[in-house]
């Protein structure tokens, strides 16, 4: 395996620092919300992980298209990496949302349009890895995976716009108010700062994990090729 590039080492360090800064802004710099109390602070990580995960799913759909046009397995590895990191981030989003909902809505989970579309998106991408596990031939696996990720990519914009399209109790914090929303709040400038720091931090963390995951995929590919060489 090639040694780690200097740029990736820098991004590794930057990701750790930014995670610390985002935590500091969320827990210390941002004020306590008067109605919900301390639990509102999970919002910063909730929105940071949701933003990167949904963009990651969309990015994977674009990579699927590139793969289908070029048939180069390199794009398949890029796509798998994007989906895997997004899946982890989106899992954090859902869990944080559920923890926030307990005191705000008095329930861990409700079948609200936003929550339902989010759960479906997560399940779609869990099934993506199950599908890949079931196919041995690398070309066929990549082709099926690309088509699946392309169709699955539709779920990301649906999840994002669910709170704007349907009647929902999920608050619309950015760009627009929702009269049905429960637990909404207006952002003060220091809350906005904490949110933007979290967005930047999670974007860098995503890039860092994504690059590392691509390197892991390349190593997997080399081992696979070596296995075939030894067996023949």
């Amino acid at each position: 395996m090639q040694p780690k590039p200097v740029l990736l080492k820098i991004i590794d360090g930057l990701a750790v620092i930014l995670l610390g800064v985002a935590t500091y802004f969320a827990l210390v710099k941002a004020p306590t919300e008067q109605v919900m109390g301390q639990v509102q602070r999970v919002f910063y990580f909730h929105i940071g992980t949701a933003w990167t995960a949904l963009l990651g799913f969309l990015f994977a759909a674009v990579l699927s298209l590139v793969f289908l046009f070029t048939r180069d397995l390199k794009w398949d590895r890029f796509q798998v990496a994007a989906i895997e990191v997004s899946l982890v981030f989106f899992f954090i989003t859902i869990v944080l949302g559920s923890i926030w909902a307990r005191p705000a809505w008095n329930t861990w989970w409700t079948w609200d349009p936003r929550l339902t579309t989010a759960a479906i998106t997560e399940l779609i991408y869990i099934a993506y890895f199950m599908l890949r596990q079931g196919i041995d031939d690398p070309d066929r696996r990549a082709r099926f995976g690309a088509v699946y990720a392309l169709i699955g990519g539709i779920s990301a914009p649906i999840t994002f716009s669910a709170i704007r399209l349907f009647r929902t109790i999920h608050p619309v914090v950015i760009a627009g108010g929702n009269p049905e929303a429960q637990g909404g709040f207006s952002m003060t400038p220091s809350m906005l700062n904490a949110m933007f720091v979290a967005l930047i931090a999670f974007t860098v963390i995503f890039i860092d994990l994504y690059w590392n995951r691509i390197r892991l995929g390349n190593l997997e590919d080399k081992v696979e090729q070596l296995k075939l060489k030894v067996m023949l």
Partner: protein
């Protein structure tokens, strides 16, 4: 002012949320580390097997001395 409700204590939920977020991220990074380490081990083992198999493959390809096959001659006509 007197009618204002006090801010509820929801710090337990906040701590749980941040703890889970950090644990999930740490587990994912650890899983990547483990997978990379296992793949390096597999690669070292496969390279060793490949080196051992290479001389055997060469000797299989070369004919053994004293046991050279007789040239096949065809009677024409």
């Amino acid at each position: 002012m007197f009618l204002q409700e006090p801010t509820p204590d929801t710090s337990g939920y906040m701590i749980a949320g941040y703890a889970i977020a950090f644990i999930v991220m740490a587990l994912y990074v650890f899983s990547m580390y483990l997978r990379t380490r296992n793949l390096h081990q597999d690669m070292a083992m496969l390279e060793e097997m490949d080196k051992q198999a290479a001389p055997a493959k060469i000797s299989e390809a070369k004919p053994k001395p004293g046991k050279t096959p007789k040239p096949v001659t065809k009677r024409v006509g």
